[in-house]
C-alpha cells in the first residue's frame, strides 16, 4: 500500500510488531499476549484509534500462526485490531548474508511498515509496554510529521508478579533494573523498542536497512542515523517504555565479547553510521500475497521480491546538516 493511499477510516496509529510462534526465550507467547493486551487496552481506553500489524517471519511449519494464537486468546482482536502478514521461510534464506542470523527482525518490520495504514507508525517489540505518558501523548494527537520520536526503555527486574501488571508496578522506582539512557543527536540505544514516525516519512526513508543484511544489531540505530541524514528531527518523547527483565543483548552480549563475529545478532562492530538507500520495492512490496483467513495474509516466495545479494552502491555516507547541530535535537517533548 502506498503512503498516499490513505482513507478516512484509517487509524491514527499503526503498531508494527514481529515474531513467530517458536517459544523464543521459553515463554514468548505469554509475554507477547500480555504486552499486546495491555497496550491495546490502554490505547483503546484513551481513545487512540490504532491497529497492530504483526509480521510473522519464517514461521515454524508445525505450529499455528501467531495471529491465530492471538485470536484464540483474545477473540475479536483479529482482524479488527490486528492484521498479520506471514512471510514464507524461503525469504529468510534468500535474504541472508549471515547464517547465524535466525530471524531477520528489521526486514520483517519493513513488511509491516510498508503495509501500515496509520498516520503514524510505531515499530516496537512484542514484549514492550507503553507508558502512561506515551498513551497520553498519542491521545492528544499532537505528534508532528517529519519527526522521529524516541523513548527510553526501562528494564524492570526479573521475578515481578506478572499476574497483575499496572502503572503501580511499572512506575515503582524499586522495580527498575536498568534505564537505557538515550542522548542526542540520534537517541540510539535500544531504539528498536520504540521508533515512532509518520507513515509518509517512514516510506520516504524506505524503512530499515535492507542493504546491509550481515547483522541485525544496530540496524535500529542505523535507522536513526538515516533519519537524521534525511533531515528529520529526532526527539525524546519524554516518557519511557517498559520491558520485563534485561534485554537479550544485555544478557547474552558477554558471551560473544571475544568472538563478536559469532553472535546470533551479527558482528556488533559493524559501522552503523554508514547509511543506505533501499530499493523502491523495499519491505517485500513485490511479494505475491494471499489471504489465509480473516486478517491473516501469506507472502509467498518469489525471487522477484528479493533484492540483489549485493548492491554496494546503496551503501551511502550520511549527509552532515548545519541545522542538525542546533539545540532542537536535544528537545524533550511533553
Amino acid at each position: 500500500m502506498t503512503a498516499s493511499a490513505a482513507h478516512a477510516s484509517d487509524p491514527y496509529l499503526t503498531v508494527v510488531l514481529t515474531g513467530r510462534n517458536d517459544n523464543f526465550g521459553g515463554d514468548f507467547t505469554e509475554r507477547f499476549l500480555r504486552a499486546l493486551r495491555f497496550n491495546h487496552q490502554h490505547l483503546a481506553d484513551a481513545g487512540v484509534s490504532h491497529e497492530f500489524v504483526l509480521v510473522e517471519w519464517s514461521p515454524l511449519s508445525d505450529r499455528p500462526f501467531l495471529a491465530a494464537v492471538v485470536e484464540d486468546a483474545s477473540p475479536g482482536m483479529v482482524p479488527e485490531f490486528l492484521t498479520s502478514y506471514v512471510v514464507d521461510p524461503e525469504y529468510h534464506e534468500a535474504f541472508s548474508l549471515n547464517p547465524r542470523l535466525v530471524f531477520q527482525e528489521f526486514i520483517a518490520k519493513n513488511v509491516g511498515i510498508r503495509r501500515s495504514r496509520g498516520r503514524f507508525v510505531l515499530t516496537t517489540n512484542t514484549d514492550i509496554f507503553l507508558s502512561r505518558g506515551i498513551i497520553e501523548r498519542l491521545a492528544a494527537r499532537s505528534l508532528e510529521e517529519r519527526t522521529l520520536y524516541r523513548a527510553v526503555r526501562v528494564d524492570l527486574r526479573n521475578g515481578l508478579d506478572v499476574s497483575h501488571l499496572g502503572w503501580d508496578v511499572f512506575e515503582e522506582d524499586g522495580n527498575v533494573e536498568i534505564v537505557n539512557e538515550i542522548r542526542p543527536p540520534c537517541y540510539t540505544n535500544a531504539s528498536g523498542d520504540f521508533l515512532l514516525l509518520d507513515r509518509d516519512s517512514s516510506h520516504r526513508l524506505g524503512g530499515f536497512n535492507e542493504v546491509y543484511r550481515a547483522a541485525k544489531i544496530h540496524v535500529d540505530g542505523n535507522f536513526c542515523v538515516k533519519a537524521s541524514s534525511a533531515g528529520l528531527k529526532i526527539v525524546d518523547l519524554g516518557s519511557p517504555v517498559y520491558h520485563l527483565g534485561q534485554g537479550t543483548l544485555y544478557a547474552h552480549h558477554p558471551r560473544y565479547r571475544e568472538r563478536p563475529e559469532l553472535a546470533p545478532w551479527g558482528d556488533i562492530r559493524w559501522n552503523s553510521t554508514v547509511v543506505y538507500e533501499n530499493r523502491a520495492d523495499w519491505g517485500l512490496a513485490a511479494a505475491p500475497q494471499r489471504p489465509v483467513s480473516a486478517g491473516i495474509h501469506y507472502l509467498d516466495f518469489d525471487w522477484e521480491a528479493v533484492p540483489p545479494m549485493l548492491d554496494l552502491r546503496r551503501i551511502l555516507l550520511p549527509a552532515a546538516r548545519t541545522s542538525a547541530d542546533s539545540s532542537r535535537q536535544s528537545e524533550v517533548t511533553r
Partner: protein, 160 residues
Amino acid sequence: MTDTMARLGSRVLRRLGLERGGRAADLHEALRKSEQRIVELKKLLEKSRAESEQWRAKLLASSAHEQAARKSDDEKYRARVEKLEARLAEQVAKLQERDAARAEKVGELRDKVATADRSVRAGRDHLMSIEVKLDLIEGAINVLDRRFRGLRSSPGGDSR
C-alpha cells in the same frame, strides 16, 4: 648746602631770635656735610646706573648669544629626531611587511591544514563505507559458498 646759604640761614634764625651763634655753625657744618653726602650719593647712583646699564647690555648680549646657540642646538636635535623617526618608520614598515607576509603564510598553512583535515575526514568516511561493503561481500561469498556446496553434495550435483 653752601656756606652762603648757611650764613643766610643763621641770619634769618638770629633775626627771628631762634638760634644762638655756636649752634648755627654746627648746623651749618651738618648741612654742609649733608650736602656733600648728597653729592656723593648722587655720584654713586650715577655710577650704579652706569654699571647697571653695562650689565644690562652685557646681559642682553649674552642672552642673544645663548638664544642663537639654543636655536642652533634645537635645529640639530630636530634634524636628528627627524632622522630617527624616518628610520623608525622604515623599520616599522619592514616589520609590517614581514608581518603581513607571515600572516599570509599562516593563512596558507591554515588553509592547507583545513584542506588536509577535510581530506582526512572524507577519507575516514569512505573507509568506513568500504568496510561495510567488504562485510557484505564477505557475507555474500559465504552464502554462495554454502549454496554451492549444497549443490555439489546433493544427489544431482556434479561431484568429482
